[in-house]
């Protein structure tokens, strides 16, 4: 069931054109542009403060854009706010459950607010709660749930009204790796079963791998947009690491036989080649000296992020927090004078 206009033509689930949002002097989002196809899992990747949440808030009609245009499920986010809201589900970065009510009551309330037909509330509730494995806990007070259970319940709630687009803002932030993994399994299963479009933000590189396409965002702009594999292929080279008895000789041999420039990293010889797996047999055949071990690793999204922004995502965030601390120190010391 893809989004269609009245004349039956398929429209993108999300279409964004030159979207800008400024908060006073700060330009949080500086003219982003992209389209998301129906049924796609689309990821926004970038460090904290890159403008991901602001973008998502504009798409969810929570924040009015300064300029530009955005359409979600075929509706304009400013002029057709209610139509957009009827067609989207939201899972926020911060929890928005009522901890004093039971899981079922939270979902019931959501269904009532969205005007879900009364006779379908129960079966739908059962379906979404079973999907996230919480049906047997439906009558428990949400306040007793763990962080992972709450997030799962929020995802279930976001689905209660069968939205066409589900927005997930950092759905796995602050969760342990195992829970993160299970949430991703739910998300993919969901996307297959409900044919839903998923738009999510994350700053975990490994998670972005689950997306069909990724937009890398840095300082309010999209710096790259492609499937993860394409992005990684653009970076190109696989990384090969070998252990030998004589690293210096190995480096010289690599230079001599393959014309490869290798260097020593963490006690091993490391170098980059376009296709590591094809290179390894040649390496054994032609290097002319014994190799004790070899490992090949594909470029990661970290490498992709690095090649587009000149920094790793972690460094980008550290710079930011350093800047924040500096500003805070200035405010504090300034205040004391």
């Amino acid at each position: 069931m893809s989004a269609t206009t009245s004349d039956g033509a398929t429209v993108p689930a999300i279409a964004v054109h030159d979207l800008v949002k400024s908060f006073g002097e700060v330009r949080a989002v500086r003219g982003v542009q992209f389209e998301v196809a129906p049924g796609e899992v689309f990821g926004f990747l970038g460090p904290n403060g890159a403008g991901k949440t602001t973008t998502i808030n504009m798409l969810c009609t929570l924040v009015t854009p300064t300029s530009g245009e955005a359409r979600v499920a075929g509706h304009d986010v400013v002029r057709e706010r209610d139509d957009v809201r009827r067609n989207i589900g939201l899972v926020f970065q911060d929890p928005t459950l009522d901890g004093y009510m039971t899981a079922a009551q939270n979902l019931q309330l959501h269904a009532e607010l969205y005007g879900v037909q009364s006779d379908l509330v129960r079966p739908r509730m059962r379906q979404v709660m079973e999907m996230v494995g919480l049906w047997d806990r439906k009558d428990s007070i949400v306040g007793t749930f763990s962080g992972g259970m709450r997030r799962r319940l929020e995802i279930a709630r976001g689905l209660m009204h069968s939205p066409r687009v589900l927005f997930l803002d950092e759905p796995t932030i602050g969760l342990d790796p195992q829970t993160r993994r299970s949430i991703w399994t739910y998300i993919r299963e969901l996307q297959e079963r409900e044919e839903i479009t998923i738009f999510m933000t994350t700053h975990y590189m490994d998670e972005a791998e689950w997306c069909d396409r990724i937009a890398i965002m840095d300082q309010g702009q999209i710096v790259a947009l492609d499937p993860p594999e394409t992005l990684k292929a653009e970076v190109g080279r696989d990384r090969v690491t070998i252990h030998t008895d004589d690293n210096e000789a190995a480096i010289a041999a690599l230079e001599q036989r393959f014309g490869i420039e290798a260097r020593i990293a963490e006690g091993a010889v490391a170098f980059g080649v376009p296709s590591g797996e094809e290179f390894v047999p040649r390496l054994f055949a032609e290097l002319g000296m014994p190799i004790r071990s070899v490992s090949v690793s594909r470029p990661t999204l970290d490498d992709v992020f690095m090649s587009h922004t000149g920094t790793t995502i972690r460094d980008a965030e550290e710079d930011q927090s350093k800047h924040r601390n500096r500003v805070m120190m200035q405010m504090m010391t300034g205040g004391r004078r």
């Binding site: 209610d82 009827r86 019931q108 959501h110 005007g115 379908l120 379906q127 079963r193």
Partner: protein, 300 residues
Amino acid sequence: MSTTTRPAQVADTAPSAPAEIVRVRVPQRTFRSELRAIKIVWRRELIRFRSDRIRIATSLVQPLLFLFVLGSGLQGLASAGTHGVELKTFIYPGILCIAVMFTAMFSAASIVWDREFGFLREMMVAPIRRSSIVIGKCLGGATVASFQGVIVICLAGFVHVPYDPLLILGIFGLQMLLAFAITAFGVMIAVRIKQMQSFMGVMQMVVMPMFFISGALFPVAGLPGWLAVLNRLDPLTYAVDPMRRIVFNHLSISPAARQALDPGVSWWGWRVPTLLEAGMIVLLGLAMLSIAIWEFSTTE
């Protein structure tokens, strides 16, 4: 706009899907869907109140302290002026008001909690009018506060107020109007306040003066000029006065006692009738509700 809901669209089950998918459709916004939203916001207040038994108890402590401790303790000092009527009986209508008022303000405070804990966002992004959220909140708070009022009404016998059906009906109706007006007032303040501490501060600054000035604890005739002016400006005065009138209508006491203890609120010598007083509470409540809705609709 049609109010009919579309039939369920049960999608074809894909071979991989273990069960058929229940698909629902969110209908266009209608008057009925707004009513439904109001109802669920109202119900949430009740659910939360019911699960919070500590709150039911704690918000009764202060009014009951006033009623039984202050009422009994000051009896000796006051007996000269009360013409044989017990002080507890005299302050009972005022105490009922304050019990309702505390609960109503606390209910309104839940908007601040909801904002702090994020739940407000869940309601803000739903395809409903902001006014539905505010109306639901106000009705919910009013219901909860009225319930608290009923507990105090049940205690009437302990302070020698007779359980007369007309009396009970009268004060029950009045306390409901008060509960609504105070919740609307609280919501109006809460919408603009981001932190619980600030709200509590504002509440202390507003509720206690309103209570003391209203005449809940003293007769409103023969006051010093400044206090008389403040008293006539205090909205709570117009809730306490008719309630006291109803209670005193059902007491068998001397006309002198009646005149001393229940002189009635007057403007430049004109005694304000009960219906006008009740009308004022309703109007004030509606005015504050409108302001709250307007404020809530303009915040992002």
